[in-house]
Symmetry: D2
Subunit: 137 residues, 4 copies
């Protein structure tokens, strides 16, 4: 049975606060997030907080592995590269598996602004939690 | 004139939602955060979302550089290592400068749980924004 | 005047010991390296030392920025992900610029084995050394 | 039976070329390396190649885990931060375990120049290879 990614995503209150809409895409996942004013560093310039950018990338990278393997993964480490300030409102985040093994996996994520500019990228190492999610009914 | 770190921190709504209390400490900074249920992944086990852990470490690493140089810094890249799940409630995050140069700096952060266990560490590269914050009255 | 990448590469004895052959490729650079037995961890299984893998990725990422901007860059930080053991002999390493700014740049590299498998990837932050190389006659 | 770290280190030709002398130190390991001219980027200023710096840090971080657990570890990913140019000759590299679990470990390394300046630091994730080394007689 395939996991319902949107349902899985929406179980987490923090995810709901980011208005995440998830779909499978090109062998990975793609999210649209609508980032509200509560996550902007300075209302005047509407720049999304770096920690929220990291959160979005972490979520996309994790879900890429979940979508690719049909079980859960836990972030072991994550590197985020900030390339451009991210404006509030709608942003797209894609996640793609680099390699998924039995005990650990690697995946990447990219955050793209409304104008198509890549604003941030991430790569991380994840530990398989096959037993955790897979055991759930 | 020295920056008021708490005031600087509280300018950001997201920081206020984490109930951050900041002080200088051992040549760096130390924050106590009270992480509420809106940032937990699973209310039952009260684990803080990995993106919030990354946010707290990013904030502490950035403020370590701010406190050490009296001007602002922008995160260029950040690596987070997740060592143990983080329970909700009060956590302590310390930030320390590794090296602060004219154009870029490096700093580290650690998140320590109430029982003293180190739950996550981070290291990042930051770009000096001396002109941005320094120019402010 | 465009830089001669091969000549620039061969100025370094360590590069010569890796038998690096460099060319521009798809907006980035591609190297073929022939890794000799002095850099294998275990002669029996012919696995390239992880530090040599990191070296090859660092070189390719740096040269991607050099090729893209026609001036030198210095590695600020580098993350390497090891995906598969690398056999000795000929390997291909590609480097591509993620973003090159005035003071900072970001680039990626991938090491691909003879059978086409991606064995390792890297991403790093680099500081512009425009004045250093650019000032040379 | 405790592993002979120096013997383990010297099994690798690349390690021997770096003249590594290893000892246990403060709950971790410390190496002295003598970096010869073949690993310098520019003989004139005697700066050690960044890839060799990464190699030394990777070796120290790996051996910290080996010394702490008495079995082998494989590098999964590594982040290196370059803080200052490293002169050739004798350098000291220390490695310390951040956390060693059953399947994953994390450790740090620092490279210190003869004058005591910290020139580079690293942190990495490692996979346990208990069966590999532990099974050896």
């Amino acid at each position: 049975m395939q996991l319902d990614l949107q349902q899985l995503c929406d179980q987490v209150a923090f995810h709901r606060s980011l208005n995440l809409r998830v779909r499978k895409s090109n062998g990975g996942v793609a999210f649209v997030a609508t980032v509200g004013p509560e996550y902007l560093v300075d209302i005047e310039v509407e720049t999304v907080h770096g920690g929220i950018v990291a959160s979005l990338l972490d979520i996309a990278a994790t879900f890429a592995l979940i979508a690719g393997t049909d079980h859960d993964w836990v972030t072991v480490d994550l590197r985020v590269d900030y390339l451009r300030p991210v404006r509030g409102g709608d942003v797209t985040i894609t996640g793609n598996v680099v390699r998924a093994g039995r005990t650990f996996g690697r995946s990447r994520a990219e955050l793209v602004a409304g104008d198509g500019a890549i604003c941030a990228v991430a790569i991380g190492t994840f530990a398989s939690a096959a037993e955790t999610r897979g055991a759930k009914p």
